[in-house]
């Protein structure tokens, strides 16, 4: 995902748009191969079932095609496509009445829950070493590679992400699952650099906690 991390459309984007307008189906299928899996994953965050998510992505593609004439190249083609997707998915999610009101989520203060259970540190009033680890994490170096990289561990990661608040889930999915840059995420979700980073940190910290609980090398509960 290194193409045009931010800013305007590239020459390649503009050439693709011209090809699409001219009815070039090879160009369209190339875009499908490139973005469909990520679109499906993102759509799945907003709606209840995989079938609905597939439907949302299809609607988003229709929206992309219908909007081509309005594409002015002020953003990259990818950013533009994913904005259409996110809007389509949010609208459907709200109709399903399952979703949270996203605008108010984004407007809310980032939560202030600590990355690590405060009980694991010496108190800030400790005379010798305030705030120092009382129960430091136990490294995973001794965890067998087969366990660390197993399907079960990845399923645990997946569960931990599913359990995140929606705004944290969006950011970690785009950044760490799909490998987007922070500029990509800011553009797709229209959030600030700082907000992006705070949400990402909260999300990563919770996934780490879940892994620590799962791999059995810490005393934190993962719930």
């Amino acid at each position: 995902m290194s193409d045009t991390p931010s800013g305007a459309a590239t020459e390649q984007d503009l050439a693709l748009v011209r090809a699409l307008r001219a009815g070039d189906e090879t160009a369209f299928m190339m875009l499908v191969e490139r973005y469909q899996p990520a679109m499906l994953r993102i759509a799945s965050m907003y709606v209840s079932t995989r079938a609905v998510a597939e439907d949302v992505v299809q609607d988003a593609w229709v929206g992309v095609l219908k909007g081509l004439d309005g594409f002015e190249g002020r953003s990259s083609l990818r950013t533009w496509i994913f904005r259409i997707l996110v809007n389509t998915a949010k609208t459907r999610g709200q109709r399903e009445a399952r979703s949270v009101p996203f605008s108010s989520v984004w407007a809310a203060e980032p939560d202030v829950e600590p990355s690590v259970d405060p009980d694991r540190f010496l108190s800030l009033g400790h005379p010798g070493s305030p705030g120092r680890w009382a129960e430091p994490p136990v490294g995973w170096a001794s965890t067998p590679e087969e366990l660390l990289l197993s399907k079960e561990t990845l399923a645990e990661v997946s569960r931990a992400i599913d359990a995140l608040p929606p705004n944290q889930r969006e950011v970690i999915t785009m950044r760490d699952v799909l490998g987007w840059t922070s500029a990509d995420v800011r553009n797709a979700l229209d959030i600030s650099e700082t907000n992006q980073r705070v949400l990402l940190h909260r999300a990563r910290a919770k996934v780490r906690r879940a892994l620590e609980g799962y791999l059995g090398s810490g005393r934190e509960r993962t719930s």
Partner: protein, 77 residues
């Protein structure tokens, strides 16, 4: 910078969004602290494992459907 502060700054550190002076204190703390060294390492492993969730393939049926979508759009354009 103590350990409970450092764990809140790991993403800032990995994103390279820290002022140089804070970064130096972060590095200095980690180099003398096994717990934070482990924490930083676990954070990196967490990010790597999360990156392994990515799925890649487009289902053949989906490809067919979308090709149909494109042809319908082209026919109506």
């Amino acid at each position: 910078m103590n350990c409970s502060e450092l764990v809140e700054l790991v993403t800032d550190y990995l994103e390279g969004s820290m002022p140089a002076e804070q970064r130096a204190r972060f590095d200095e703390h980690v180099s003398g602290c096994d717990g934070c060294t482990t924490y930083l390492e676990q954070f990196r492993i967490t990010i790597r494992l999360t990156g392994m969730l990515s799925e890649a393939q487009v289902e053949p049926a989906t490809r067919e459907t979308l090709l149909g979508v494109f042809r319908d759009w082209r026919a109506s354009a």
